[in-house]
Amino acid sequence: MRDGKPDRGDRGDRPRRRRERDGRDREEYKDLPDKVVTAVAPEVLEDVAEQRKRTRRRKKPRVGKRKACRDCDFMDFKELNMLAKNCNVGGKLQSRKRNGTCAKCQRLIKEAVKRARYMALMPYIG
């Protein structure tokens, strides 16, 4: 025991046990058990679990869904709305997974973004 530290047994007025903290050691609550258990039929529990699974499956977002490619052969660097849709707020080109573009479109968009940056239509990202 180091100096200045109170003895473990000596806690002053602080309640020591949970029952004390909850006020369960009062006269009228003395017969209550420590933990309150509510009984639920196992079938109901299973039902709830299954329902949860089902709802979870339904909510799962679709992965790999492509946007319909408008034009796979030409991307104009002057179409800033189109470029902005494929970039984040800062102007950084987003991944194909996020954009949902096909490989060819993504390459064309990449080229268009770089041209737009060179012509000061879009910012460079440091």
Binding site: D71, D73, D76, K78, R115, Y118, A120, Y124
Partner: protein, 138 residues
């Protein structure tokens, strides 16, 4: 140069000018650029002001705003270097970009100029083909 004049390619050009210059004498700027292209065996398809006094994404030569010229022309590929050099030496040109197009760009088809009958003819053919293919699909 006979072979070079025969084989031309479609190019797109975009130039940024100082808005002060552009508002003063826009026609002079367009004419000087057109003359330059025509001197190098090029033929102008379209030249127009794309944006006036547009805010630049970043500062260029101390300017925060610029006026954009956008155009299309045909030119023998060998002369492009000379055009690039000329534009770089021009002090009124803040920045320029020349892109070669293998395919007809859609915005050119829509607002096709009457100067190049070949372009219009091609556009019409393409539009007809597209219409046919969509009809066939339906």
């Amino acid at each position: 140069m006979t072979t070079a004049t025969k084989a031309t390619r479609l190019y797109e050009i975009m130039v940024i000018y100082d808005p002060a210059d552009a508002s003063k004498d826009w026609d002079v700027l367009v004419k000087s650029l057109s003359d330059r292209i025509e001197k190098l065996d090029g033929s102008i398809i379209r030249m127009l002001q794309w944006a006036d006094n547009r805010k630049l994404a970043y500062e260029l030569k101390g300017l925060r705003r610029g006026t954009y010229l956008s155009g299309y022309f045909r030119m023998p590929p060998g002369n492009l270097d000379q055009l690039d050099r000329n534009l770089r030496l021009d002090e009124r040109v803040i920045r320029h970009l020349v892109i070669s197009h293998r395919r007809q760009p859609p915005d050119l088809v829509i607002k096709g100029s009457e100067k190049d009958p070949e372009v219009i003819k091609k556009a019409a053919e393409q539009a007809a083909e597209k219409a046919e293919s969509t009809e066939a699909k339906e």
